[in-house]
Structures are given as C-alpha cells and as structure tokens.
C-alpha cells in the first residue's frame, strides 16, 4: 500500500512526454560458440529472442527465451551429436513505470543479485563467453525469480545517480520456470562524471536453510582510456568468490586504425571458494581461473570472440579454449514510421 500510494503521489509529478510512440520489437541474439574444455570439443548453437511490447505510456511487457543445445563427439561415431534442444523462458515480466523514481515489475524476472545476470548475460554483450564461476550464487535456480519487484534509477544528487531493486520471489517447482523463495535488494551509486558505479546486493532465503547471501559490484570506465573494468564479489552458504575483468579497446593504436578500433583485448581473473552447501551449478572444489580474450566487432551487433582460460582446481587443472560468433538482431513488429 505504501508503494502504491507513493507511486500514485509521485505519478502526478511525472511528465509523460515521450514524443515518439514505441513499436513492439523482436530483438535478441544468436550465436555459435565452440569450446574446447579440457581437450573435449563442444559446439553450442544458441538463439535468445526477446519480445518487447510497450503498452501505452507506462507499461512494458518483455520476455526472453533461450533455445540452445550442446553437441559433443561420441566415441566410435563421427561428427557432433547433441540431445534435444533445450528451451527455457528466462523471464516474462510486466513492467509499470510508475514515475521517474520507481518501476513495478511482476512475473518472472532475472534475479537482480549482482550485475552480471541482469546486464551482462546476453552473449552479444559479455566480453568473455564463459559465465563467471560465482554466477549461480544468489540468482536462484534458472537464474530467475517469480514474484514482484520494485526498481528504479534516479538522480539523487547533481554528481551521482542512485539505482535500486527490491524483490520478492516465491517458490516454484515447475520446470523450467522454477524459482526459490527469497527476498532481497540491490543498490548502486553511479557517478557519471567518473563513469564509476558501485553497489551491493543482499538476499535472504525464505526456505530450507533460510540463509543470507550478499555481494558487491563495481564498474569503471576511465575517461582517458577505452577501458572497461568490472568486478563482482558474492558470498553465501553455497560458496564465495569474485571475478575481475578488464577490457581494452585498441582505439589508440595509430596504424591500421580501422581494424584496431574494432578490436578489444580482455583479461579476467576469478576465484571461487566452496561453501558448506554448494549446489550442482557451482564448482565442486576451490577454483582459480585466468582468462584472456580477443574480441573483434565487425559491425554493430556482430562480434567474433576467442579466449583462452587456464583453470586451477583441486579436482584437476585444465585449459579452456572458446571461439564464438555472436549477432544481435532487432526486428520491429510494427510500422516504424513516426506519425
């Protein structure tokens, strides 16, 4: 009630002067990822469509699904073989933009714990194709929650913006839309002048062990360099760990500029420490992983990437090579000419 009354009150102050009527979109990404994990080759085609339906001035319905398969070689058989295509609705949510401070979301949504799951997960966005080791911490089964969320971002001070998300997820055992019962919040500060964002997440489980999870994240893009630095830390009874990633765009090389400005070198270091209640999604032993990558952006939305990683673990060290081609598409589902 408090949320609703505040939303209504602030709604009166909010301007709704979007001049251009949005059109429904089919967007998303597709990619072909080949991995050599400990010498074993995997072929991994993936399509992730996202349907975006703006409704009126303040509503948005959005849903994203994934269709993927993992093809491997079997002894005695030629070629690569995979099982059935895995299908998953990653999220299907209805957003109500109540005012400039608050958006209310209901349905199935990506759990806003840390930043990777919500913002860097799509294959055309991420700099390295492998998930961070700590990604499963705090995001629940199948990376999503079923329930409601209040979120927003606003200018809290002339020098910084505040963003937040508060959510509640209910228990669902229906696969593939399963989710755990928990409540949590994430907050962040973004300083535009420094291009620095820092934040933290907290989550309290409302089932089983009723444990807590927390984490911190930071993003920084120095003004003087085409460099992205990202980092996350997470801790729960499932384990703890961190990842730190730096990506440098070779804009400043003075020869072959057309090629080098499209090229990005990436390095990531991560570490995971097993907790008392680690699930199947996490590594079975303490693990360190170093990765180095090279990305090449052909045109907007088309990216080739390759990376090498060396994993050190008590259950065995191994090399991981990855090569991928990803494409981000945008297809309007209606007339695009403005009235």
């Amino acid at each position: 009630m408090l949320t609703a009354s505040l939303a209504t009150q602030l709604n009166a102050q909010t301007r709704s002067d979007e001049e251009v009527a949005p059109v429904p979109l089919l967007t998303g990404s597709t990619g072909f990822i080949s991995t050599f994990d400990g010498g074993e080759p995997h072929l991994h085609p993936i399509v992730t469509p996202l349907v975006l339906v703006p409704i009126g001035q303040r509503w948005v319905f959005e849903t994203r699904a994934t269709f993927e398969t993992d093809m491997v070689q079997f002894p005695g058989r030629s070629g690569f073989h995979g099982g059935p295509v895995q299908k998953e609705v990653e999220y299907a949510q209805l957003d109500f933009i109540a005012n400039r401070y608050m958006t209310v979301t209901v349905g199935r949504f990506l759990t806003p714990f840390g930043i990777f799951n919500e913002r860097f997960y799509p294959i055309w966005i991420r700099n390295l194709q492998a998930d961070p080791l700590i990604l499963p911490i705090g995001i629940g089964p199948s990376n999503a929650s079923s329930g409601a969320m209040v979120r927003g971002g606003f200018k809290a001070h002339p020098k910084f913006n505040v963003n937040y998300a508060v959510y509640f997820s209910t228990l669902s055992t229906v696969s593939p839309v399963d989710s755990d019962r928990f409540a949590g919040a994430r907050g962040g500060l973004f300083v535009p002048a420094a291009r620095l964002e820092i934040g933290g997440s907290f989550q309290h489980g409302l089932q089983d062990a009723r444990s807590n999870a927390f984490g911190f994240h930071a993003l920084w893009q120095p003004l003087a360099l085409p460099l992205d630095i990202r980092s996350e830390y997470a801790r729960s009874i499932a384990g703890s760990g961190y990842w730190t990633e730096a990506a440098y765009r070779l804009n400043q090389i003075l020869f072959h500029q057309n090629e080098f400005r499209r090229t990005q070198v990436v390095a990531r270091m991560q570490q995971y420490f097993v907790g008392t209640n680690a699930g199947d999604a996490l590594e079975p032993a303490n693990t360190k992983l170093f990765e180095f990558g090279l990305n090449y952006y052909f045109i907007d939305g088309v990216k080739a990437s390759s990376n090498y990683g060396r994993q050190f673990s008590a259950v065995g060290n191994r090399n991981v090579w990855t090569m991928a081609l990803t494409y981000r598409f945008v297809i309007p589902l209606g007339p695009t000419r403005s009235e």
């Binding site: 979007e18 979109l25 933009i97 979120r151 927003g152 809290a156």
Partner: protein, 123 residues
C-alpha cells in the same frame, strides 16, 4: 519474521526514495537561478531544464540550445549505454523509443537520461 523483513526492506527503500526526491527537488530549485545567469556552455543544466519543458517549447528553442542538448544526449548515451555494451547504431525513432524504455527498466537509467538519449537517438 519474513514479513517483518520484507516490510523493513520496503520501508527502507521508500525512505531513501523520498529523501532523494526531496534532495533532488532542492538541488533543482537552487540550481535554476544559477543556470539562468550562467553562460550557455552548460549542457547538463540545459538538459535538465529541457526535460522540464513541453515538447512544443523545446521545438521552439534556438539552434544553439538544440545543439547543446544533442551533445548532452550523446554524452549520456555513451556514458550510460557504453557501460554495458557497444553503442548501437541508430534505428528508426519508434524502435529506439521501445529499446530505451526497455533499457530504462533493465539498466535503471534515470528519467532525465532516458529523455536526453531518446532525443539524441531520434533526431
């Protein structure tokens, strides 16, 4: 226990929201007279003012102000969108309007940033 926790979480966020809104309103009201007296090089101040005016008033604004708003929109576009992904090419205005609404929810960009970025991307 769980209900109390949820209520406390909501109350905490609401309190932060209310205080921040008050702080922002104060900042806007104190900066407005300074903006009026300042030289025309302050894209941010103009941007802030522009998001408080009607579309018709904006259309009637002078070319210098239009240029300042465009530059500010481009700056915010690079600052906000470039945090996570490569800056996309421009799409038709109605496509950009849908995408920016999605990104407002997903990336939690502010209302002012959304309007300036949309303005930049649809001109």
């Amino acid at each position: 226990m769980a209900r109390r926790y949820i209520v406390v979480c909501f109350l905490g966020v609401m309190a932060v929201l209310v205080f921040s809104a008050i702080a922002q309103e104060r900042a806007d009201s104190t900066s407005a007279p300074k903006e009026a007296a300042a030289a025309p090089a302050q894209g941010t101040a103009r941007a802030s003012a522009a998001t408080h005016t009607s579309p018709r008033a904006r259309a009637a604004s002078d070319p210098a102000e239009e240029r300042a708003l465009r530059l500010e929109g481009e700056k915010r576009f690079r600052t906000n969108c470039g945090r996570c992904h490569q800056a996309p090419h421009k799409f038709p205005p109605r496509v950009m309007a849908a995408a920016i609404r999605h990104m407002r929810v997903r990336a939690l960009i502010t209302d002012e940033d959304m309007r300036l970025i949309l303005r930049y991307l649809t001109q």
